[in-house]
Amino acid sequence: MKTGNRNFIGAIALIASALSGQAFAQSQDCIVLKSTAEIEKEMVSDQGEKSKSLVPAGKVIPGTEVVWTVTANNVCKQPSDKVTINNPVPDHMALVPNSATGPGADITYSVDGKSFAPAGQLTVQENGVTRPARGDEYKHIRWEFKNSLAPGASAFARFRAVLN
């Protein structure tokens, strides 16, 4: 886990609060981050209409597609900038290609966790030969939200992965 610049001294906090005119309490995170695991269930109404809805995933069998959703809620009175969500693809799961979504975000991926690139631009080594990485080989996903997250607002990121 990356550590931010938390070791700032009290003076900077005072300066920051003086500039913004409001207090940024360093002991309180401005973003509350929630992660959920769900599966998509098909429902049939009394009229025979089919619809899909997400329900919590508890116990799943291999081959099941799990929908992972991350929400970032700004609980402070200042906007949050450069909001970036990082989510590794869980163990024993394969990312469903093109399933990552996040309104207002640039989405990039990584195979090694260090270098990130848009879909289609990653490579892997196989038997000494470099080849393009397949979508199900991406191991990390990153959402970089282009706009600030206003106080009280939420940013939303989602991807799907299949259990091996």
């Binding site: 973003i31 970036t84 091996n164």
Partner: protein, 331 residues
């Protein structure tokens, strides 16, 4: 010693064991916890911070799936024979350990007789040798149901007797069924908490059970071939020296009540010898070396050999004598 090959179609059934399919368990082991934690980086003014989410998890449920194959799909038997064995493989293709119950059934449509179950009828290959031997345990339902890990398999032997009234060509079918003790049913049926590590067990695409069928085929005919040879060397003696001639005689005989249809005799010319052209005979009738209208030929590929078509042989056909000669090559 030369190789003697004898092939007959139809009435003589092959009893080669079929190598098992590689049925593989699918998936992450049941009970495994899959955890996911996300992080967010952000800045407020000049300050950057990172927050970690809660850990959201799913637990891998157990798929209940089994594969049964027969490794001896056709077993040749004679009327009245007892303890005729059939071999099956039962594989756990789910993702968690599972106990299976085995049932043999002989009342199956489409055959001419029902094999009679021997007692005991089912044995487990306790020493995992792949063949039945006296150490293997008789199977008793509910007492030694095989417990198989994911991807694990057990070889099962089934013993039946053949009715004395069965005649040549009759078939008798026998099934072996395996079903998962945790539960069977429509794929997707959930047995809550019944899986490994207390997770749910979910019936997989096989329904949690599997069945395979073998067939006993009565073949009333047996073929014997007895070979003899005479050596004459170029000095009037009987020493097998280079240049000496070996005359082979093979007597083929059918016994029993059935027909060996389209029986074909082939015999390789031994390494280090050369076929003497024009010496192939069936019951003293000379056969031309070429493949033509008569029943015999000398073939040089894939390896030098003689071949004689004996037609449909029965006990009434009488003995068939094939003769041919070779010379021993110089060194």
């Amino acid at each position: 010693m030369q190789s003697l090959r004898f092939t007959a179609l139809a009435a003589i059934a092959l009893t080669l064991g079929v190598s098992a399919n590689n049925a593989h368990a699918r998936g992450v082991p049941a009970g495994t916890a899959i955890n996911n934690t996300a992080t967010v980086d952000y800045t407020v003014g000049a300050v950057t911070a990172t927050v970690t989410s809660n850990q959201s998890s799913v637990v891998v449920a157990e798929i209940v799936d089994v594969d049964v194959i027969v490794q001896t799909p056709t077993v040749a038997v004679t009327p009245g024979a007892t303890q005729q064995v059939m071999r099956y493989r039962v594989t756990n293709i789910g993702n968690g350990p599972e106990t299976f119950r085995l049932v043999m059934s002989n009342a199956i449509a489409g055959d001419q007789f029902d094999p009679t179950a021997a007692s005991p009828a089912i044995y487990l290959d306790s020493d995992a040798s792949g063949t039945y031997n006296t150490g293997d345990a008789p199977y008793v339902v509910g007492t030694n149901d095989p417990v198989l890990a994911a991807d694990g398999f057990v070889t099962v032997f089934v013993f039946n007797d053949i009715p004395a009234a069965a005649v040549d060509g009759n078939t008798g079918r026998s099934n072996l069924t395996a079903d998962a003790r945790t539960g069977t049913g429509a794929p997707g049926t959930v047995f809550a908490g019944a899986g490994a590590s207390g997770t749910d067990a979910v019936v997989g695409s096989t329904g949690g059970d599997g069945v395979a069928q073998g067939e006993y085929v009565v073949e009333g005919v047996a073929i014997t071939a007895i070979k003899s040879q005479t050596v004459v060397d170029q000095f009037g003696g009987a020493r097998p020296v280079p240049g000496a001639r070996i005359d082979y005689s093979i007597v083929v005989n059918a016994t029993g009540t059935g027909i060996a249809a389209a029986a074909a005799f082939t015999d390789n010319i031994p390494t280090g010898t050369t076929y003497v052209p024009g010496t192939l005979r069936l019951n003293t009738t000379a056969l031309s070396d070429n493949a033509d209208a008569d029943v015999g030929a000398f073939e040089s590929s894939p390896q030098p050999r003689v071949r004689v078509q004996l037609g449909n042989l029965t006990a009434a056909s009488g003995t068939q004598t094939i003769t041919f000669a070779v010379t021993i090559n110089s060194l």
